[in-house]
């Protein structure tokens, strides 16, 4: 037990097998087993992060199969390398997994009756894949882990309604194209460098010096393209809203906060560790137009979010917009932008979790997530709605929540790089978020229906029937996880300086530019 890093993976892996095997005759055991393995995994992630902070090089290395680096060329075996960033993302993944596992008992029983063992097995393997992505130091192993996460994701979504299965097919085709492009990019890198270890690849690329070969550049474009398809970057976002809206409640609660964010992490990892900062940020070819692409992505996604009249669908488009934020934070190519981007990965995971947990409760209690059905929800479920709107305020970026601080760093980065188009888009999309969430609040407090007809008789009367006015809070097994998530959003916001300190410590070795012009 000296190496908690491997237990981050092993707990959910063995947990899923135990769930699958025990499920046939002991269906009641599935949920506790899932929660227990996520508890173990979260504990291991915390331990790993503590180890990484304590160690002098700020990273934890684990050599699977014991093929040590001192004796052999780098990359003979597979290496797990958790620097502060990897350990942080692993903690986010396992933490979100734990909260969703706690939340999942009732929704899973309702959405996939009779198939709980398989559901929890896939659920745990999904977390195994995602946390593995955060930890691995091997480019091909990353591909395998991406596929583990993707296949479990398809299964988890398609277990829902028929509509979900139809949406999954699109997701599967696009996801396969994305993963295959990544695989091709790794192949090009292997062809040029002869290794699959991330550090090994960077050393080989840095040895090429100031004029990297065409194939390295094509490899970069391929990897980037693959990751962008996987993270639902704007022109490739088509799979995301449909898949998340129609999937079972727990699935969307698990996938929405994690999948896109982990793929952003992969992009950061590619830029920092695999290709190196000089290579990635020096070429005007992509550093010029990437911020513009993110601008288009944010504007388009925010516009589409405005057009929705249903909470889950609106949230799905918000995720697409947030992906634009974080990608932009990377591609404004400076220190503050990257801090903002990494911080935003963490805070976006927390606040999206909050929102989707809240939306799941609304769906459970009201049988609809359409805006029409929201009237009087603050009277009916005050705690749930408080949790939900803490997430919402964080998306907008109101101060004590974590969303404010990450957006702050993103905007600072944009200003330092003088990428005004990005800064202005961030401001504008913040306005859009304000409209989105205050429109929701208005729906809950005003007695007006979709077409503008007045329903109540004024003076705060919402025109509700008696049973809809009654205090009727969500069951505690769903409410408590939501409140935990909401308090995490606030805590990360309040203790943001500690988090930023760690991120800064992690970014120091990369010599990122802090000024206007790079090179």
């Amino acid at each position: 037990m000296n190496d908690p890093i491997i237990w981050i993976i092993l707990f959910p892996l063995f947990g899923s097998i135990a769930v699958a095997l025990s499920g046939a005759w002991l269906r009641k055991a599935c949920h506790p087993l899932a929660v227990a393995s996520m508890l173990g995994s979260t504990w291991a992630a915390v331990e790993t992060l503590i180890q990484a902070i304590a160690s002098p090089s700020h990273e934890v290395s684990y050599l699977l199969g014991g093929w040590s680096l001192q004796l052999f060329p780098r990359g003979v075996g597979i290496e797990f390398r958790a620097d502060l960033l990897g350990a942080l993302i692993a903690l986010v993944v396992t933490g979100v997994g734990l909260i969703v596992a706690l939340y999942s008992r009732l929704p899973v029983e309702r959405d996939t009756p009779g198939r709980e063992p398989v559901y929890y097995a896939l659920f745990l393997l999904q977390l195994c894949g995602l946390s593995g992505i955060a930890l691995t130091g091997d480019a091909f192993n990353l591909y395998v882990l991406i596929e583990v996460a993707a296949l479990t994701g398809y299964g988890l979504i398609a277990m829902g309604s028929n509509r979900a299965a139809a949406a999954t097919f699109n997701y599967l085709i696009l996801g396969t194209i994305g993963a295959s492009f990544y695989l091709l990019g790794v192949g090009y890198l292997y062809l040029k460098t002869g290794t699959l270890n991330m550090i090994g690849i960077r050393e080989a690329i840095e040895a090429e010096g100031a004029s990297p070969s065409v194939s390295t550049q094509v490899a970069f474009v391929l990897v980037l393209l693959g990751v962008m398809i996987k993270m639902a970057f704007f022109p490739f976002h088509a799979w995301l809203p449909k898949a998340y809206v129609h999937s079972p409640t727990t699935t969307s609660c698990l996938l929405a906060p994690l999948v896109t964010k982990v793929m952003i992490y992969v992009m950061i990892r590619m830029v920092l560790t695999v290709f190196g900062v000089e290579f990635s940020f020096e070429y005007a070819t992509w550093t010029e137009f990437m911020p513009w692409l993110t601008v288009i992505a944010i504007v388009a996604a925010a516009g589409m979010a405005l057009a929705q009249r249903e909470i889950k669908r609106m949230l799905a488009y918000l995720i697409v917009a947030e992906v634009g934020y974080m990608t932009g934070g990377i591609w404004i190519c400076n220190y503050y932008g990257l801090i903002g981007s990494i911080f935003h990965v963490v805070s976006d995971a927390c606040m999206t979790l909050c929102l989707f947990l809240g939306a799941g409760i609304i769906l459970e209690k009201c049988k609809t997530t359409r805006f029409d059905g929201l009237r009087g929800l603050f009277i009916k479920m005050p705690l749930t709605m408080t949790g939900f709107f803490i997430g919402g305020f964080s998306i907008i970026g109101l101060p004590p929540t974590c969303g404010f601080f990450s957006k702050w760093y993103l905007i600072t980065g944009g200003m330092v790089s003088q990428r005004w188009e990005y800064v202005i888009t961030l401001m504008l999309s913040t306005m859009v978020m304000v409209v989105l969430f205050f429109r929701l609040i208005e729906r809950m407090h005003l007695a007006v229906d979709e077409s503008g007809r007045n329903l109540g008789d004024g003076h705060g009367d919402l025109g509700l029937s008696k049973d809809r006015k009654r205090f009727d809070e969500a069951p505690p097994s769903m409410l408590i996880p939501l409140l935990i998530a909401a308090s995490v959003v606030l805590l990360v916001g309040i203790y943001n300086q500690d988090l930023v300190d760690q991120i800064e410590r992690m970014l120091q070795p990369f010599n990122l530019p802090t000024g206007v012009h790079y090179r």
């Binding site: 596929e147 398809y154 028929n162 139809a166 295959s180 091709l184 292997y190």
Partner: protein, 185 residues
């Protein structure tokens, strides 16, 4: 025209020495085209298989070395005596204790790593294909078609009926009170 096939000309460089890469690019384009543009879901999956096979071809072709054999040790490099040729005196002693073995030169065997990677990729491909076929079955059972345009039309119809359309249309409002799909079950 005759000069085209001379050593070192661009044509030779691209289409003779690197023909394997061109074949893979063409296959990959065919697969990608089928995945994006074909209407039938099964044809999309056939495209997906072609696409993945093209990548496998690319990886395996970079493993080849001139004059090298398959990556399984020949008897003289075999760590176990069992494959050793019998000594001159007809003694059957196990080789790994009697004579220290020379490590084989890297040029003698092809690169094993791409083969290993592709074994993994093949298995992933099989798993994806199986899952995709089950989705096709499910779609066919629910909507009675595997043609994409018909499917999209049906889905649009279902969404409009249940009031969860992606578009904010007027038609939807008329049905706003009906329960959501899936909840009714």
């Amino acid at each position: 025209m005759i000069g085209m096939f001379e050593e070192g000309s661009i044509f030779t460089q691209l289409f003779v020495e690197r023909l394997n890469y061109f074949i893979y690019v063409v296959l990959l384009m065919i697969g990608l085209w089928a995945m994006i543009a074909k209407n039938n879901l099964i044809k999309k999956l056939i495209g997906m298989s072609v696409f993945q096979t093209a990548i496998i071809l690319f990886y395996v072709s970079i493993a080849v070395k001139e004059g090298a054999t398959i990556p399984i040790y020949l008897p003289e490099h075999d760590p176990h005596g069992s494959h050793q040729p019998v000594g001159a005196e007809g003694s059957l002693e196990i080789a790994d204790q009697s004579l220290p073995m020379q490590p084989p030169a890297p040029s003698a065997y092809t690169n094993p790593l791409p083969h290993v990677l592709m074994l993994t990729a093949i298995v992933v491909g099989v798993a994806t294909l199986g899952l995709a076929l089950s989705l096709c079955l499910r779609i066919y059972r629910a909507y009675g078609t595997i043609e994409e345009d018909e499917l999209l039309a049906k889905l649009e119809e279902v969404d409009a009926r249940t009031g969860s359309s992606m578009r904010s249309g007027r038609r939807r409002r008329a049905f706003a009170k009906k329960p959501k799909e899936g909840r009714a079950r």
